[in-house]
Structures are given as C-alpha cells and as structure tokens.
C-alpha cells in the first residue's frame, strides 16, 4: 500500500534512498551483539546479553520466555524506547543509536506500531480519535485521516463504536482500538507487548485472528513479546529467550 502524501512529503531524501537500498533486504530489523544492563542498587542486571537477531518482512514472530528473560527489553530496544549498553539495533537499515530524540520520535511515528498489554489508549479521546492520533502527528490531511481511520476501524471490527471513549469499551474493544492505532500508518513493523494478557480467551482468539489477517492480507510484520500459549501457537517463528539470550529460534510452517 502506498504511504499517504502527508508522511511521504516529509521524508528526507537520504531516508528514501536508504529505504530503497534496504527494501530488497529480507530483514526489516537486525540486532547485532546487543547487551542491555541495568543497575539495581549495587547489582548490575544483564537484561539482554550479547543478543543477535534478524526479523524478516512479513514475519509473525514471537519472543517468549519466562518473566525476566528480556522479552520486553528487546521490544523496547527495537522500538527505540531504550538504548542498548552495547551493540547495534538496525531498523530498515538505520542504526537507531545514531538518531536524535526527535528523529527517533519520527521513526516511531512513521515506521513502528505499538500494542501494549494495558491498551494504553488516551482516555480523553474517542476510539476514532485514538486511532487517528498518530496520523495527526504525521500531519496527514483531514480527509485522508477520515477515510483511513474509518477503514481501519471497520477492519478491526469497531464500526459503529467510533465515538466511544476507552472507559465506555470492553478490554477487547480497547485492544482493537490499540491495534487500529498501531497499523493505521502502515508501519514497517508492529511491536506487541503481551497483547492478549488482559483479555479473556475468546477475545484473545479474536484479536489474534485479526492480527493474523493483517499479517496475511496486508503484509504487516508483527513481533510479539508473550508467554501466552495461544500467541506462541500461531507464531510462524518462535524465539525463546532465557536470561537475555536466545535459547531457541524456531521457524514453523
């Protein structure tokens, strides 16, 4: 799908060239000997330990492992929300460590979609406005926003609920809005941190159906952090982490 004029219009020339260079690469993101350590009191905790990983375009992959294995930290590093202590994170050929705060914000806005465990919708906004939020940040035209948001809300099954605020929706509905917000800008990758953790099993299945359909039909790349068996069962690739290292990297048909 073509990106809309608002975002494309602002894309610097070197970004476009870099995108052209990397579009033939199968990897959408790459982590190269990434280590992340935290200081907890006097103890140094190694959340991610010399981890190298590549994710391909169109992947439907899941990072799994016990609590404290480093799943969320890896997602945060990929999303540019955190910086590695050593090593490099490349997203679409760009080394995230070389980018300024503003540039990182722009990357997150234009190329990454986030789905959080606790939905994290903006409470003063309706479903429509939450889904529209990132498009507005991109400076997209009003008409484009309207068409795009209405189409996405229909796609995630929220037609008719556009004017509801988060506190007027169920957990499953809120997570659908979060998914709509994550994919509305057609990002390169959606990072989903425990997206089914706060919903019942029926809703979890419905959400996974939705994300799977978006992956199959729209080619959206998904990378989950999860210890939900349902997510693991559906993932095409399962990356098991243990103590910040890849324990097992399994690709399935």
């Amino acid at each position: 799908m073509a990106r809309h004029a608002g975002a494309a219009g602002r894309k610097p020339k070197n970004d476009i060239m870099r995108a052209m260079e990397t579009q033939h690469s199968p990897h959408i993101l790459r982590l190269e000997n990434v280590t992340k350590t935290y200081q907890q009191g006097k103890v140094e905790v190694r959340a991610v330990d010399d981890l190298s990983l590549a994710v391909d375009r169109g992947d439907f992959a899941a990072l799994c492992g016990p609590s404290g294995s480093g799943k969320t930290t890896v997602l945060n590093l990929i999303g540019g929300l955190d910086v590695p202590s050593s090593g490099k994170v490349w997203l679409e050929g760009q080394d995230l460590a070389t980018l300024s705060r503003a540039k990182l914000s722009a990357i997150r806005r234009d190329r990454i979609g986030f789905v959080f465990q606790a939905y994290n919708l903006i409470p003063v906004m309706t479903a429509y406005e939450n889904a529209e939020f990132v498009l507005k940040l991109q400076g997209a035209a009003e008409r484009h926003c309207r068409d795009r948001v209405m189409a996405i809300l229909k796609e995630v099954g929220l037609e008719g609920l556009e004017h509801r605020r988060p506190d007027e929706m169920s957990g499953g509905q809120q997570q659908r809005v979060a998914i709509a917000r994550a994919i509305v800008t057609e990002p390169a990758i959606v990072l989903a941190d425990e997206p089914t953790a706060n919903v019942d099993s029926v809703t979890a299945d419905a959400l996974l159906d939705l994300m799977q359909a978006l992956n199959r039909h729209n080619g959206v790349t998904f990378l989950f952090s999860t210890h939900d068996q349902r997510v693991m069962d559906r993932a095409h690739r399962l990356i098991r982490l243990h103590d910040g290292k890849i324990d097992k990297d399994e690709v399935r048909n």
């Binding site: 929300l81 994290n120 903006i122 940040l137």
Partner: protein, 412 residues
Amino acid sequence: MKLTKMAWRNLWRRKRRTLITGFSIGFGVLLAVTFTGTGDYSYSKMINTGAVMGFGHITVEPLGYNQTPALDKRLEDSAKIRQSALAIPGVTDAIARITGQAMFASATKTVGGMFMAVDPSQESTEHNLFLRSLVEGELFPTAGGRGVVVGHKLAEKLRLRIGKKLVYTATDANGEIVSDIARVTGIFKTGVSEVDGSMALLPIDSVRATLSYGRDEATMIAVIIDDQRYTERMQRRIDAAVGDSQREVLSWKQTQADLAGIIAIDRSGNYISQLLVGLLIAAGILNTVLMSVMERTREFGVMMAVGMSPGTLFRLVIIESIWLAIVGLLIGIVITMPWYAYLYHVGLDFSGAIGDDYSAGGVLIDPIFKIQLFPESVVAIIVGVFALTLVSCLYPAWRATRVPPVESLKTI
C-alpha cells in the same frame, strides 16, 4: 484531534481541581483589578485635583520660577502663550495667573500666606477648585476690582467676613514692598487645612497694577489637558509650541513634586502587593499543573512511544495552561464584575476614618474609595494572567518531555 481540543479535554479530567485553580486565578484577577483600579482612580483624581488647585497639569513659567519663586520673574506675553496653548488638541483650558507670597492684614491681625491673582473671565468652577469650594459669597466680578476670596481658616484667623477689608503686602516686580486693599467677596473651604488657612484669590489686573506688572504679564499659564495620562506627551507638544530660552514648560510632577513622590511610593507598594499575590497564585498554578503532569507520566510515555515529539508534548502542556488561564480569567471577570460595579458607582466611604483634612502632598483626596480601570490596565491584567500562568507551566511542561518513554511505560 487538534492539540487545542485535546488540551481542553485534558483540562476537565479533574473538574474540581481545574475549578479550584480557576477560582484562584479569578481571585487574583479580582485583587489585581482592585489594586490597579484603586491606583488608576485615586492617582488620576489626585492629579486632576492638584491641577485645579493652581498649576494645571502643565505649567508655562518664567525660567527658574519653579526652583526659586519670586515675583520679579514673569511671563511678558501671557495672552499669546495662552492662545498658542489653547490651539493644541487635547488642551481643554489655559489660564493666566500670578501667584506669590504675601502678608494679609485685617483690623485685628496679620498673617503670612499665598495669593493667586486670577481673571474671572478665564476662570471656571471646573478648572478652579477654590471657586468650586465657595461656601460663602462669590468670586469678584472683574479682573480690575478690589475683591478678594479667602480660605475659611484664613478668614477665621483674620476675623474676616463678607464685605470686610483686607490689606495685602507683597514684593513687586522691582523688589519694592507694596500694599493694596481689598474687600472680601467670598470664602472657600477645600478641606485642605494648609490651603484654607493661607490662600487668597485676588483680581489679576489690580495685582498687576500693584506689583508694577505690565498689562499682559503673569507668573504662569496653567494648562489643563483632557487626560492626565498623556501629560508627558502634551508637555512636549506645548514646549514645542511656546517654549523658549526665557520660559519653561513643566508637568505636574515637577511643579507638585510632593504629590508625584507620594504617588510614586504608593504605586511601588501597589506593585509589590500585586507581585506577592501573583507569586502565591503562580505557586498554586505550578502545583496544579505539575500534579496533573506527574499523574499522566504513563500517558505521556505512550504518546512519545507512538511518535509524539517532545516539542509537541511541551506545546500540549502549554496549551493546557493557556486554557487554564482563559478559564481563570473568565471566572475572574464573573466574580469581579459586581465588585467593580459597586466600587465604581458607589464606593466605600472612609471620610469618618480620615478626619477633617482630606489631603496628601498638599492635594485634596477623595475620602470615598472608588475604582476605575484604564484600558491599558485591563490589557496589563490580561497579559499578566497569561504570563503568570505560562511561566508557572514552563517547568511542568519541560518535566513532561524529560521522562523517557521506557521509564513511564514501566508503570504498565
């Protein structure tokens, strides 16, 4: 959704807190209006009253007369100066007068005092406080007669009544001691003891003759302007029209330095009071906005995670503060209007507390406490409220942008 709309909704997430802060800003507006309006009204009233007690808002005088007043210093062509001043837009009156010191004697007693020689054809109750304050008799009818109008305390000292004779003695234009006689035609009571006990009005042509002045000579032209706020501007215009090396054009601040000093000191105190009130309100706003920001750390983290730039987040908090200022201002207008209307139309009567002498710096003051806001003061208060609110919100807005998204998302 536009940032302005989002900020407006954010403002009402905690209605009670917003309303409490809005009321504190509104109370600040009420205090600012009261302080500023009192100053605007009372200073204006004092300056205008001072102007009609002799010197006008602006005075054209012989060079050096203000520093060392003496009757040998005089303007030679007062009629021409007066006409030139009257031709300037904004000048409502220009009056030739002779002022000086004299000894006043009656059949029983002699006292020192001041005289102001006036031409009844140029004087009016509007621009001459003494005529406005006549309690007995009237102003002498011509500039060349032998009438005199005296203050009621001077009349008491000299045991004068209407029709009684008064002898005044002064130093003439040549430095000679001269005297003349006058008959009391009126008695005034201004309420300023110093003035009521020493001042007499005399007919200007008679005084000219007594003091060996020419027919067109006077010691001053008192100029009344339509708005005292523009005194400096009018002073420059009048100076350009009539000023020369032998005369000077002075404002009330120069001719009534005591009054100017009292106003300056009072205004400084007023500013300090307003500053203190402003600081207290700013602390309240800072507290409210900072709390509101700290409560939304996670939300801000999400916004930044999905791509909101720190600059946009900063703008969001600033726009919220602008909305808060608008709400506070509107509340302020609502609670201030009845208070302002009452003080503007009715006022508070402090005459019982002030006593008999209603004066400050030798100028009559109004014992009724009233207020009036000039348009520039209204603008200053509005700008002040916005500036105060914005300054108070800079730190919370900056704080909002400094929390790393990953830290704020840890609270999930």
